[in-house]
Structures are given as C-alpha cells and as structure tokens.
Amino acid sequence: MGNQAIPSTEERKEKLCGMGHSRRRVEDARFIQGKGNYVDDVKLPGQVFGDFVRSPHAHARIKSINAEAAKKIPGVIAVLTANDLRPLGLHWMPTLAGDTQAVLADEKVHFQNQEVAFVIAEDRYAAADGIQAVEVDYEPLDPITDPKQAMAKDSPVLREDAQGKDSVGQGPRKHPNHIFSWDVGDAQATEDAFRAAKVKVKEEIFYQRVHPCPLETCGCVASMDKVRGELTLYGTFQAPHVVRTVVSLISGLPENKIRVIAPDIGGGFGGKVGAYPGYVCAVVGSIVLGRPVKWIESRLDNLSTTAFARDYHMTGELAATPDGRITGLKVHVLADHGAFNAHAQPTKWPAGLFSIVTGSYDIPAAHCVVDGVYTNKAPGGVAYRCSFRVTEASYLIERMIDVLAAKLKMDPAELRIKNFIRPEQFPYNSALGWEYDSGDYHTAMKKAMQAVDYAGLRREQAEKRKRGELMGIGIAFFTEIVGAGPSRNCDILGIGMFDSCEIRVHPTGSAIARFGTKSQGQGHETTYAQILASETGIPADSISIEEGDTNTAPYGLGTYGSRSTPVAGAAAARAGRKIRHKAQMIAAYMLEVHDDDLEFDVDGFRVKGLPEKRLSMKELAWAAYHQVPPGMEPGLEAVDYYDPPNFTYPFGAYICVVDIDRHTGEAKIRRFYALDDCGTRINPMIIEGQVHGGLTEALAIAMGQEIVYDENGNVQGVTFMDYFLPTAVETPKWETDFTVTPSPHHPIGAKGVGESPNVGGVSAISNAVIDAFTHHGVTHMPMPHTAWRVWQQCHALGIDR
C-alpha cells in the first residue's frame, strides 16, 4: 500500500482477464495431453463391468428369462432381472416427468433395445459373453410407432401398467395411450382473430426424431462402501445434485451417504440430464456385490435408448391482414414421447418452454395445444441444444412466417420486420404468457441484411430462377427463452431451479469457487473465473473453478437449457460482490476512512480523490485473516444461491444461402451468417466456438439426421454408418457477428448462448432449402433435406432433367 506507482488501469485489467476477454481455456491443458478424466477413465480397485441384455422386439411379453447358462460363463458374476429388483422396489423408477419407467423390463417390453437383464462380469468381454448366453422367451405383440395410430379409437393399450390411471403425472388423459394435453393461450380470442382474418395459412410441419449424440456416450461407476454405508457414483451427469437427490429418493439411502461425482464430460447436449436404467443397475449391482460396478453405453445403445430429441408432429396456422400484419397464431402438436414419459425438463412444463412459439413477433392472439402420446419407441424427447422445446417452437414459427410470406407474395425479411416486437415494447408480454426482457430486433436484422447484401442475393436468385437454377435464401430470426429458471415457474421434483456459487478467497489472494452447474465442454473453468475476476478484482488465473462433486459444490440444478450463465453466472457475480463488499469494509478500517469514501478500482479499493491511497485485493485478502474490523468475522468467503426473477431472451438473425443441384438434389451451403445477441459477452472466443458447434449440429439436423423406426418397430440407422454426423468436409465455414442488448434483470446483463445456434440454425438452413423451391409453389418440405429427398422434390416438379 502507499505511494509506489501502480500499473495503469489498462495493464491491471489485462492482468485481471475479466469479462470481455478472449481468455484461453484453463481446461485445455489436460485435454490436449490426453489427461482428461472422463467416466471410462475412472478405475477403482475391484471394479467389475455391467451391461444389458436388450430386447430385439419393440413390443412383446416376456414369458421367461433363463440366466443359468450365463451365470456359468467364466467371469460372469451376476445377472439381474426385474424379478431380482422387485423386492427392492427398484424394477421401476420415477421419471422427472411424473411417469414411471421400467429399469429392467417387467413382464413386457415397450421398445426395441429396452433393458431386459443386467449382466455383471469381471470385464466387458466376459459381460458380452454372458449377455449372449441369457435366454429370453418373448411373445411378440404388434408395435405402434406412429402417434396418430396410437391415439386411434381401437388402438391396443401400450402401457398396461398405466391402464385406468386418470393421470400419469402431467394432467388428465383422454386415451390409454395419451400422456397429457397442454393447453395455453386464449382459444376464444384466437378463434375470433382467425374468423376476422382476410389471409390465413396452415401447414403440417414435422420435426423429426433426432439424437444429441455427444461423442462420449453415457456411463457411470457405482461404488458402495458397505463398511461406511456410503455410495459414490461417478457418471456423465449434467446435473449431479439432481442425480444425488433422485438416487436417494429411489434407493432410500440418506442423501448424506451419497456422493455423486461428474468428472470430465465428453459433450452432453441434453442427453446426460436424465436418469437411466444403467445408473440404477450399476448402483444395485454395487450394493449387492460390494464392488464398484462400471456401466458404459455402446454407441448403438446410446442412439437407440437414451435421450432422443424432438419427434413433434406440428400443425401451424397464421392469420394476417392482406398487408402482412399477423393477427393470430394457432398451433397443435402431437408429441411422440415413446414408451415412457421420461423427458428431462422442469416438471410443470409437459412441453417445456414451447409456448415461446410466438417467436420474435408481436402477435396479439395465440393458442397452443400439445398432446403427448406413448408409442413403442425409446423414451426421452427433451435434449439436443433445444432449450426445452424452444427449438421446435422456433422452427414452427420461422417456417410459418415463410409460408405466410409466400402466400402474401411478400419478402420474408420484410414480413418479419413488419411484425417484430419493437424496441420500445420491451419488457414485452407475449400472448402466451412470457415477459421478454429486452431486445432490439430491427437493429440486428438490419445489420445481418447489410452484412450479406440481402438485396443483392435476392437479385441473384431472381436471375438464377430465370435460368432454371435453384438457389435458396433462408432467414431465421429467433428469440430464445433460457435460464430456467425462476422457481415460481420452474422446478425439478419440487426443487426450484436456482443455481449457486460458493467462493473462498485464500490469505495469499488466490481463490477457489465452486458451482452447482457442470460443464460438458462449455468452458466454465475459464468463464466463471472471468466473471469473478471482474467482480472481485482477483485475477482470473488465481481463481480455481470446481464443479461436479456433490460433497464439495453447493447445490445446483446443473447445466442444460443454456442456464449456466443466466443462473449460475449471476450467482457468481453476486457472490463476487459479497466478497467485494466485505473487502471494502476491511479496506475502510485499514485506511481509516468511511467505506463510502472508497471506490473499487479494477483490483482493489482506493480513497475517492486520493488515488494513491489504495489497497489491493491481495492485501485485503491477507488482512481478512488477521486484521478485520472489530466485530467482523475473519475470513473471506461468500455463497450465493440465485433464483432468477425472469428468464433471459437471447435472440439472433441468421441468414443462409444454398445452391441446389436440381439433377442430384444436393444442397450446398454457400454462405451462413449468424448474428447473435446474448447480452453481455463474457468470453467472445468461447461464444464463437459455441456458435460454430451449435450451427454444425443444426446442419446435421436439417440436412441428414433422423432416427427412423420401421413398421415392426425396428430402430434404423443407430450407428455412425447411418446416423449423419457432419465431418470437416461437409461443414461450411461459419460467419459470426453480434449485437449487445444486455438483460436488464441479470446482474451482469448476460443471457446465455449455447443453444441459440441450434435453435436458429435449423430454421435458417431448412428455410433456405425450401426457399429454393418457393417459385414452384412449394410451401414446405420435411427435414432432413438429404439429397435423395430434395431430388424427389425436383423430380415431382419435373425439374430434374
């Protein structure tokens, strides 16, 4: 302290590496050297390996299971079936959606590859031998893979266990294969708007079943210490604390005797939020055997059994005036949830946040009904960078706007601008009940259109059309709703969806901070430290970030739905402010001034008007352990549990240009421009990286991915031979851009970005492909837009020769 010259503000900010810096990632050092610690790297003494006998049938009765031969295979230790789990009450488990799911098929199988028996062996080879030797006698039943057929009058009852139940957790049912009906908006006002409208359009839009498919599959290692009565569960958990609570509720073990550890996770994309039979079986296996049991999914298991996404059969209708003012929106969705209602999302929202379906537009009347239905397909539905069904909602409205534009013979960009929520309308209350926090859509759209020379592209397209060439320009102007969420709206099993940060500043001025979230590649170890650096004045390099160990981290709801920055990022900022506040009190005491006479200056406090009289955070940290004001607790720690007052509403303007070969149906993305507004930007490098990745996943969905079932319920294409994952060759170069409209209610104005590129990307690409055909009167083409499908469209129009 005192008179020595202090470095300039700029130098000190640079050293701090707080918000706004493209700080290089802390995580990378271990990953580039092969020293990550993913769940399959976890090896415990005496560990054994478990894997499943899976059903070859989509729908069948199990007449008998004979595991005697399997148990005699060298290396096989045990075989668990539903009958073994029944006495423990663990043959079924509750889902996060209020339904129940079979852990091991109990009398009946409901989808192909469903878990039937769990073989535990000394290693994975012996487990594979054992699986082959388990004899299961099935009586095949007719499967239903079409949700419309499931709801037919004479349709067989799929879930006999739920027969006669008025509700399976999400409200009244109207058919034995029906799960719920979700009705939102003003039906009467919407009917009135449609009755009065001069222009109406209607389109059936199917968002196909896809899978998030992170490169690492799901897995866990369960280790029961019988002496201490403690269970340690390592696993690919995006929400480790929720897993601990669920395991406690299911197993009856007290929560303090369960330690859940999520080590490094090799991508999640929503596929690692839910609870799967593999986790339960590994836990039971370890409790029974007293040895650690590892379960690691194969890729085939992953694509065919855990966490699919979408499968929404949507019908959209828009009402408008002849000059293009939208007056009403009507939506019906038939949602195929598969065999169990096991989607992972806020419990109260059976269709997630789908009611953001009015998008970026000021639509006065809207009504939306979603019907969830059982089929003989794998359970799940909410995953894959979807922000709880925002992807489906945004796709529907962005497609419908194009459909309406075609009907009105209006430019789709002009129609969007005409109906945008205007800047002065924020905070904006949507017809379906959301309060949009902030936005400046016109500025973003204008910037995007100028960047790509939109008018020039349309001129080029007109010329090409004269020559019979196919060129498409796709626009998506999405508004997301993320940061779940306010506990008045959102809970999981009754636990409010807050998140948390706990920080401890050490005497020498470095710190450790722990969070209730869990990175799967988002770079939290890097970015949280930046938030804390800006707020506390401690350099980011001196702040360690930890997540994923429930014994040390404060309770939090995990990472999905782009919630880490909006919720835990806010907790970080507020915990940092608590540290700063205490440091200010200590500084006032040491400098013998009133704390109001101090001001924060990058990395310490100085006396107003006397800048040479200052104390650095490093000095204050030391003082916190030996020189606190009388009556103040020593130490420098803070905890913050942040329950957000509202969601955040990131938005973006994406424009995609495709050229289509009408002879082969191949669509090539010539240009893709993505402007994102995620509010305050914490680390621009990481934001860009997220956008690149999300767009590449959008490309995959729009152009090639689909989990298909044949009429017998056989799941098709669940290896990488068939399931499309773009390589570096198919992936175009992405152009990124941004505007900044901070969230007014978030402590640092940040909104979240992880899922935006997928939400906007799919619509922009699909709209571009379809736009190439609008002059032929085409209003919609179902995804994925593979060359074969696009060629079929060309062929139907007779333009392929």
């Binding site: 290089r24 990632r25 995580e27 990378d28 050092a29 271990r30 990953f31 580039i32 050297q33 092969g34 020293k35 990550g36 610690n37 993913y38 399959d40 790297d41 090896k43 290693d123 994975r124 080879y125 498919c213 992170p214 490169l215 690492e216 599959t217 490094d264 996770i265 090799g266 991508g267 994309f269 690691i296 194969s298 890729r299 799967q520 590649g521 988002q522 770079g523 490098m685 990481i686 860009e688 990286g689 997220q690 690149h692 990745g693 999300g694 767009l695 590449t696 996943e697 290896t719 990488f720 031979m721 994952l725 390589t727 570096a728 060759v729 992936t731 170069k733 992405w734």
Partner: protein, 164 residues
C-alpha cells in the same frame, strides 16, 4: 481364454504384455497400459476418438486387435510432447485457436493431425478438412480445428527454418 504374448513400443517405451487374442487395441491401451488419451466413441471406426499412430499410419484402435499391433511402434497423444515436457506445436495451436471444447475427440484429432502434417507439411484448408474427415467432433464445428492445424503447420515449418 488363452492369452498371447505381444511386444511393442508405446510412446517410446518397450512393452511386453499378455492379451486375449480377441482384445481390441483400444482396450489394451486403456485397460492394460492405463492410457487415457485414446477414447472410445463409436466402436465402428467412424468417429476417430481412438486414433493412434501405428508404424507411421493413423489407425483407429477400436477395430484392430491388440495382437495385430505386435512388433509395432505406437504413438498416442501422450507421446507427442517433447521429453522436457514442451508441448507439440499442434497441442499448443489447439489451445491457442480454441480447437477443442469437451476435449473427447481432441487426443484422436491431434494424433491424426500429427500424421497429416507428416504426409503433407503445408496443407491447404481444404486438404486439412479432407485429411481430418475420419475424425468427428460434435462441439467445435471444425472451424477452429482447421485453424489450429494450419497454424501448427506454419509454426513447425518456421521452427524447421530457424533450426536450419
């Protein structure tokens, strides 16, 4: 099952081991050698997370048997850094250019890029994209991976010139 003896060199060290003939090379490396660089992503040779360098070729270790590696010289990402711990230019470039997110594909991706730069020390962006097309990444969209490989190629050639 009767075991077979194999001898090979892994990251510069001589190794002798007993393996079941059916044991896949990736399991040998991960379970017996306790390496954590090569990962298993698909079991079908598509994703490249298990890529290792075997006698000067990029090989997906999930679909060859450990016995097939008998007598070979094998390199994984763990063997790329210099003996004094200095990271390989590719490792540095992946960090500098933000060429990774979850990190699961990274060891395979870097190991493949290592061989690519021996095959073609000065690849164009297009050549890098084709050269890495056997390695899938779900997080980055490849853009920064391509940048990293390009930047490592430049760093390596500059290092070579400086040494000459």
């Amino acid at each position: 099952m009767a075991k077979t003896q194999i001898k090979l060199k892994v990251n510069g060290k001589d190794v002798e081991a007993l393996v079941e003939p059916r044991m896949l090379l990736i399991h040998f490396l991960r379970e017996q050698m306790n390496l954590t660089g090569p990962h298993i992503g698909c079991e079908t040779t598509h994703c490249g997370a298990c890529t290792v360098d075997l006698d000067g070729k990029s090989v997906k270790s999930c679909t060859i048997f450990a016995v097939q590696a008998d007598g070979s010289e094998l390199l994984t990402v763990e063997g790329l850094a210099a003996a004094d711990g200095t990271l390989h230019p590719l490792q540095q470039a992946f960090m500098q250019e933000h060429g990774l997110q979850c990190g699961f594909c990274t060891p395979g991706m870097i190991t493949r890029a290592y061989r690519l730069l021996q095959e073609n020390p000065n690849p164009s962006e297009e050549e890098i994209r084709w050269g890495l097309s056997g390695n899938l990444c779900r997080c980055t969209g490849y853009q920064n991976i391509v940048k990293a490989v390009r930047s490592a190629a430049t760093a390596i050639s500059q290092g070579r010139e400086a040494a000459e």
